[in-house]
Symmetry: C2
Subunit: 230 residues, 2 copies
């Protein structure tokens, strides 16, 4: 056995023009690790994926992994953040130009149902996410991405009412819709006819939104059990 056999295969072309060669190489291996982990985690799941398999696919060793990340969970978190931010960007882009709150909610709903049908998003974010990160960290991540969009949309819808809701009450409504979307999304991606299932979800949530709108348009008051309503 020679000193060190066949390592350092040629890295990607420099993608950070302002950085030194060392930094470019470093970023390259880090990206390779995240991509390999993303593939393995989404295929086999977190627990069933070994670090050896990840570093083998990334063509590095565990030394490199532990140089860039503090451990397996941190690597997962990097994967999670990437998937989540991409998905949130997709949804945010779709509702970008829409002005009317009710139409905005429907457009956002469709975009979310699109995202949640991606196997990778489903597995990494919705399935493994809460268990691997712990519910607290999972929620912190979502708070800044997907949930923030839902919060924005729901706030817009509820603001069409004559009465005002305080922040906790808007968040409660958003949590409810967020959970509904998540569960509905899972049922869509798990269905044999995803097209039909997606249409059903859209119709059902649309109907709920219609009911909400009717209450608001008819001037039905919402009784906040906690907040002080002036």
């Amino acid at each position: 056995m020679s000193k060190s056999a066949a390592k350092r295969l040629l890295p990607k072309v420099p993608d950070l023009p302002g950085a030194s060669r060392r930094q470019q190489y470093s970023q390259s291996t880090k990206r390779a690790l995240v991509e390999a982990a993303l593939e393995q985690f989404s295929e086999r799941g977190y627990a069933a994926t070994s670090l050896d398999a990840i570093v083998a696919q990334a063509a590095v060793t565990k030394g490199a992994l532990y140089h860039h990340f503090t451990g397996k969970q941190a690597l997962f978190e990097a994967v999670f953040e990437r998937i989540e931010s991409e998905a949130a960007a997709d949804i945010a882009a779709s509702v970008k130009g829409v002005k009317d709150p009710w139409e905005k909610s429907l457009v956002g709903l469709r975009a979310f149902l699109e995202v949640v049908q991606q196997p990778t998003y489903r597995r990494i974010v919705m399935q493994e996410g809460p268990a691997v990160l712990g519910y607290e960290r999972f929620r912190e991540q979502e708070e800044r991405t997907s949930f923030a969009i839902v919060l924005d949309v729901v706030h817009g819808v509820l603001a069409t009412g004559a009465w005002e809701l305080d922040q906790p009450m808007v968040e409660t409504f958003s949590r409810i819709f967020f959970g509904a979307l998540a569960s509905a999304g899972e049922s869509v991606s798990g269905a044999e006819d995803a097209e039909a299932a997606s249409a059903r979800v859209e119709a059902a949530i649309g109907f709920l939104l219609l009911g909400l709108r009717k209450l608001i348009d008819d001037g039905v008051a919402f009784a906040d059990p906690v907040g002080d309503k002036s």
Copy 2:
């Protein structure tokens, strides 16, 4: 070291009067294993609890564990089923006598919010469940317990409408409400003031149900995008 030191401490009193002593002892150790696992899993989580810790608390060895269960996951599944069935029984009992579908939904909502505040249920069923069992097996379990109740309640509510919905459409509505309940429940159990959070959730979902009722009472038609409506 003597041959076998201090084993076989006196088991529980016979709890299966019709069974033989062997079967009683066997059931006793099996129950001890499930109870120890329940405690450990709900405190430390699935991945962080070792089988050694479980068998130590149950005062048996791994031989006993692998005699009764095929592995760690099967043991978790036993714990899961127990928690789930107890919770479902609680909720089912609360909505038992209620006739009016709308009141039934509100009563069931309160019962579910009660259940979901139990740390054990939250951790075992909602957090670790999907990841450990896999989403498919998780869903199979829920299908027979909690979700079945939601399905029943939602079916009752939707049946007050003039139009009829086919089974997939009712299931879609139920999935949506189930997800909403789950997410809302988590936000309740994670809140610092659980009382206020619970009241908010109840008000919000109650408002959504009120909107649904208004649509139905006003005779607004629901357009099923898939099912053939005669």
